[in-house]
Symmetry: D2
Subunit: 224 residues, 4 copies
């Protein structure tokens, strides 16, 4: 009897193992700059997303991985995508880049030309899609939250956001238009024309409200 | 008889002298950069203003003088205001500056800090008002005419326009808000989001339509 | 007898008063940026100069006045020269400016064009010389102390130093060539190619050795 | 007898064919920016090199290929190296890049940070050396030829040249120190401190003398 049971258990184990691949966790990599790097902190948007998935009872189906590095521009992502993204064998990649490409023009003289921004962005998508990885694109949220159109870099940030929107359309990628959401949110809520403190702590990096807004936007895009 | 005539002549002379000040031409100096420098060309806004005054039959009452020099920023105006404005003994000065203060940040690394822009602007007004000269201020019209908020320098141009609006209010100067007019005109007429060609030839300098718009705006402000 | 003495005292007092103008202190104003602003600190070069004059026993003949303001470029000096220099009625003015005109090109996009640097500098000298004030010019010492010619802004700093040397020659002003002294001192002493710490604390502002070098150079120039 | 000879000839032919791979042309790719792009013009340094090899009678042993594209910075080389270099299966690659990485900081605000310059440069070398390709590195020659150390970007150009020298040493790559050669040549020949016209036409791109100097330097490095 004992022996028989032992065989039954073994059979059951084999069956479980056999079906395990069907239940393999989907891996979602968040690929970006310091904003994404901070996303895995306790109150960061990636952590919030993980919690949301747990509450929905689907937390075990997904693995969310942060791959953000401070100061990264689009070509930095391209350089490290083999090691930091492809090596992780993701099912989905959420790209969020652009702030430094614009910002560093003024602060260090080392921003990214618009045409090269587009070229490197397309090269990243091409490599990901060649591996059948689903790619979602985000527009850069903000460099300054003033609502009277006087944030110094808004013009360029809008231009690069437009480039990303076109890239998304051309490559059939889902778009998470954080730029538009940020502008709309500020127009509605930043009535005293503050430079920061509405969605960001410092004009660029997300505060608690910002992390919530981004997490919800990504939730909607990833799990509609 | 001779004596009587003599008295009559004297009386006439006195009358003429008495009324002469009333007929003295008012001198209006337009003080600015290359846009103002081009204003005295055959189709420039200063020439158009002169023609408008002729048509109104008050052309002989006013002398319009261009004092624009290409590449000028606010501190360049301050440096040459004694020679180029005060020496001309104007009744009215129309100041139009700001494009290069913003533009040269990016193109040459030699723009003007916002706080110094304000400081020099106030110093110019103080010197003019000390001589009882009426001062009108213009906001900078445009660096790029795109209507999707993607002109690279719009944020900064709006910021400096805001500074000028405050300076006008604080110094009780009339404001000719060319920035607002340009934005409104483009939103209404630049439906294909062109970079130039609506009011400017090259994103900055006025085309025929632009010169007309500016001339009419100045006409309204100067001769309401 | 008392009366007689009284008269003698009065006569002596008159004599002293009469000769007082001959003994009037010479006022030397140091006109510049943050480096000059720090010159009046306990270890600053202006304080060191004052001490040197005391030791030489001629301290009572001179009054050294600091007129440095952080972040100042040449046009800032021009703007405030009436209030901060001419109002003090100086006999001698030592101008030391140029670092920010070069540096701010990169850091803020608000440096000073070379041709305008020259124009404003000449305007300052003209105003000072018109009041018979003796003017001494200094070249900007350093933005970085590396000796392998790899300080990012050295090329431009050398260019602006050259402009100042020409201005000095053209206006018959004495030159204190701090740029050359700094380069020579570093070539001799900065054998490990340090970025700062030889004559500066932070690539720009003087450390103790730097303040001494500058004080001695000025001593030699002002009291040869 | 005739038959025998025929067999001998055949044997000889077979032997020749067998050794043919030993005589395969060596392919040398010149990988760079607009300066390299112009190198294949009739008077360009790559053309001159080809002629030199012909004169030496070894022209048939080598194939020289230009792979320069105007405006390229180090990360542009990295992006296109698969298509433009590796696909050509080269034996030797001569990398010459750096001018735009420095220059574009000032002209467009889109230069390359020093640390990223190094990172991308190393990534290129790693990929080439992994394919057993011999790599030679050049330092950037000039942005301005003045000899009084007043070329605006010399400091940064020297810094990036220093980075390349270190990369060459660390990766056991041969170095063609065009920066040093250019400085030395100008110090000897540019006695009137001209901005261009000695080795360049426009401060950056090679004139006839410049192309000759570079061709000779490369000849010496490639075929010592």
């Amino acid at each position: 009897m004992i022996k028989k049971n032992w065989w039954l258990l073994l059979a059951a184990a084999c069956l479980l193992t056999a079906f395990a691949p069907l239940q393999k966790k989907q891996r979602i990599v968040f690929f970006g700059d310091s904003i994404t790097e901070a996303g895995v902190k306790p109150t960061g948007f990636i952590t919030l997303l993980t919690n949301m998935l747990q509450q929905k009872g689907i937390g075990n189906n997904y693995e969310l991985v942060g791959a953000g590095i401070g100061g990264n521009k689009v070509y930095d992502l391209y350089l490290r995508m083999d090691d930091d993204v492809l090596a992780k064998n993701p099912d989905i990649v959420v790209i969020w880049v652009g702030v430094n490409d614009v910002w560093h023009k003024r602060s260090f003289g080392t921003g990214t030309d618009a045409d090269k921004f587009e070229k490197f962005y397309n090269a990243i998508i091409k490599k990901l899609q060649a591996k059948n990885i689903k790619v979602l694109l985000c527009t850069p949220a903000a460099i300054g939250e003033r609502t009277d159109f006087s944030n110094e870099l808004d013009g360029d940030l809008n231009k690069y956001s437009g480039i990303i929107r076109n890239i998304a359309a051309n490559n059939h990628c889902q778009l998470i238009d954080l730029r538009k959401m940020t502008l709309d949110y500020n127009l509605a809520n930043n009535t005293s024309n503050k430079e920061s403190g509405i969605l960001t702590t410092d004009r660029v990096h997300l505060n608690e409200t910002g992390n919530k807004m981004v997490a919800e936007a990504m939730m909607k895009a990833l799990f509609p």
